[in-house]
């Protein structure tokens, strides 16, 4: 395995984790709609228990996404997390609120009341996907940072700096970052609706979900198409693999899709699957399996976008403050030894996916109903 191959391989793995994370944001999407999907208190509890059987997978994928980035592209970890401090802190706060809310919301003696914890779930359901989407949008839109490794020998040894005082919140002033963020949020809602329709055996909830699916999908498609067009037409950040010099290239992302036809195919298949799952669910009165084609389509679409951001000599974390500080998979990755060692560890991933699928199928074999909530273990 050459160093270049390992860099590409690890970008693929990180992108895959990111794509799976976006799919698993159905937990947040459904939680953001808990009031309108659930209707009454019992219905809300049903929705929360439905996502409550999966929330730890989303959470774990987020943590592993961070860990994998740390191990494979430590300069990104250092630059983005240390620089865009407030953006990441806001994301973390909302996930902390979520982590305790499931367990605490319905327990005797929870001090803050069930509504408070359900509100925490809604806050995470809205801000989690929105801010994560915004953070991912900076892979295309750029961020305001400077990397100067020689600082290590100077009077101030910190090598990565944010070039303004906002520490990441400036990203939210970029309208295209917001468009992408809201697109991810709408997608999470769409996935959440499809998941609840599939997972909860309750006609009232399913019919409410069905109604909301149309509106949510329209918003998602408008935002997604707008961003995709913008992405294909915008300038991108390319680097010369021989010298490492970074430059602006018009239509870089369009070129990437054309030069990497397999990514274009992945993107198209992904989009078709997303639409298939949604449209069939809207059209058919009995079809409740839309989460699967739409979920797989989401993974493929996001994977294609993230690979487009980092492959084909593209700077995946561009700097708008100093072009040459932009991060590429070549200048920000771990050493060949570490990437190679971790590549062996990554062979465990199919095994991990296999037992997740087995456990998921066993738990979801019977759809969740009001009776189970009343008589069995439940949040």
């Amino acid at each position: 395995m050459s160093y270049e191959f390992l860099q590409q391989y690890w970008w693929f793995l990180v992108s895959l984790l990111g794509a799976l994370l976006v799919f698993l944001l159905f937990v947040q999407g459904a939680n953001s709609l808990v009031g309108s999907l659930g209707g009454d208190a019992e219905g809300r509890r049903l929705v929360i228990n439905s996502t409550g059987r999966k929330w730890e997978l989303t959470f774990t994928t987020l943590v592993t996404f961070g860990g994998a980035f740390f191990a494979s592209f430590p300069l990104f970890y250092s630059t983005s997390f240390g620089g865009a401090y407030w953006l990441w802190m806001l994301i973390l706060f909302t996930f902390v609120l979520q982590a305790v809310s499931y367990e605490f919301q319905n327990k005797l003696g929870n001090l803050l009341g069930v509504k408070t914890f359900q509100t925490f779930l809604v806050i995470n359901g809205i801000l989690g996907p929105l801010l994560l989407g915004g953070a991912v949008a900076t892979f295309f839109e750029g961020s305001n940072f400077i990397v100067a490794k020689d600082n290590l020998t100077g009077i101030q040894p910190v090598i990565s700096q944010w070039a303004n005082a906002s520490h990441g919140l400036d990203a939210l002033l970029n309208p295209w970052v917001l468009v992408f963020g809201f697109a991810v949020f709408s997608l999470a809602r769409t996935l959440g609706i499809l998941y609840v329709m599939n997972n909860v055996a309750d006609e009232n909830i399913r019919s409410r979900a069905s109604v909301r699916l149309v509106g949510t999908t329209i918003v998602f498609l408008l935002l997604f198409v707008a961003y995709l067009v913008h992405l294909l037409l915008k300038d991108g950040y390319a680097y010369d693999p021989a010298t490492g010099v970074i430059s602006i290239e018009p239509y870089k992302y369009l070129h990437n899709f054309l030069e990497m036809w397999y990514l274009l195919a992945l993107l198209l298949i992904g989009v078709v699957l997303v639409l298939y799952g949604i449209i069939r669910t809207i059209v058919s009165k009995t079809y409740i399996g839309g989460i699967w084609p739409t979920g797989i389509g989401t993974v493929l679409t996001v994977l294609a976008l993230l690979l487009c951001a980092g492959w084909n000599n593209t700077a995946y974390y561009p700097s708008t403050a100093d072009l040459q500080s932009s991060l590429t998979i070549a200048n920000s990755c771990s050493s060949e030894f570490t990437l190679c060692t971790m590549a062996y560890v990554s062979l465990l991933i199919p095994f991990v996916l296999a037992y997740i699928i087995i456990a998921w199928r066993k738990i979801d074999r019977k759809k969740l109903g009001r009776e189970e909530i009343a008589t069995d273990e439940a949040y």
Binding site: G67, Y77, S78, G82, Q156, T341, M342, E377
Partner: protein, 524 residues
Amino acid sequence: MSNILLTIDTSTIEWSRAQFALTAIYHWLFVPLTLGLAVIMGIMETCYYRTKDTFWKDAAKFWQKLFGINFAMGVATGIILEFEFGTNWSNYSWLVGDIFGAPLAIEGIVAFFMESTFVAVMFFGWKKVSAGFHLASTWLTGLGATISAWWILVANAWMQYPVGCEFNPDTMRNEMVSFAEVALSPFAIDKFCHTVISAWIIGAVFTVAVSCWYLLKGREKKLALESIKIGAIVGLVASVGAALTGHHSAFRVAEVQPMKLAAMEALYNGGTDQSLTAIALVNPFAQPDYENEAEAPLKIAVPYALSILATNDPHGYVPGINDILNGYTKPDGTVELSADEKIERGKKAIEALAAYRQAKYGSSDGDASVVAYHLEVLKENMPYFGYGYIRDKSELVPFVPVNFYAFRIMVGVGCLLILFFMVVLFFVYKKDITAAPKWLYWSALAMIPLAYIASESGWLVAEFGRQPWTIQDMLPTWASVSNLHSSSVMLTFFIFLILFTTMLAVEINILVKQIKKGPEHENN
């Protein structure tokens, strides 16, 4: 591009340290109970699987419920810890991410997914999966948590004893050269054994104490009796194990972090035949005058015990703070440089690195012999690289009172716990624990805060003792931190403080209510 940036505000370093310490201390309130209860409930469910007696199922479900309430907080604080390496210690993350990131990624892939997948089966799968699958899920949840502990402790041990890496002047970072040395470092093995075993003690104390509360109230006698049996056996084995692994840990500390050991002992001037201080009057609020005092006042010590602890030899040599600062000769004849000499060589290493970079990448279009010369100087002085960032040798001395008292609290409570579990088991097997005197039940309840204080004290020793280093001898805290304004970190510190404290209060209240409610009996 270099040196265009602001200098770092010292309060940013202090607030970043405070925030990390706050998160770690809170995290360690929840994790040991998770690890400990995982063993207890695993044993109980195994009893159910073997006997099919629904009593064991009720018992296992009861402890699992308490486990679940606690588990969520461990998860919530854990995510913050992982990301704080990037948000608050970004320079550290780049300089050693090549080594340090790997255990964190493996922890996610191998441990977290196992934990999060099977914990859902454990809670919600009683009627959905077979008894065997459920039992396996319960043990796999605990195994996942334990594997997670392994990898994060590998990472922590590496910071205390950095092995298996080399500095690469071209990439300006440390790079891993041996995964086996990192993953199987003796420091990591000792740390894992000591930490996880001490977590089992917390689980055991909690189980015994809750059971004793039931006996105090005259309720749930069978559950209490069986839980006390399991809890006390696990607790006694773990307490003795913690003492043994603690000795190993101290031995390693003496080898690779002698300053930490000197601070733990308030040992200002070392030598051979060193006694272990049982107690002494060290001002808890100020750094002692170690340069001028011969030893801490009112010292009562156990002869030769420190030499045995540090070297396995009653006559072994143990350096004190002044020896380490002024330099000393080890028994094998090797000379340990003084702090001033190390600082000097550290500065040489940093200057050589700058010169190397300038010669190789600067405008002068470097002469190969000049590049090679600077590289040679850098390699010669690299073991002292971190000392180049030290401004004064007094910075190399950790805050002695915290180390001194925290170590004594940990060891003292540890000994008390061995005695406690022995007394409990005496009552279980030689008397009748369900009719034991009330002082025993009350003392069991008192053991909960004491065990937690001991457990946190262990971490205080580990982390305060290595100051000023983020990575021993390689990187001090002020060269590791992110360049943030202190007000930002201060604000997040207080947000976390309020958030975690509120959630802790909620958790304790829920636990109390759940314990008062007691187990649900399937037959009823």
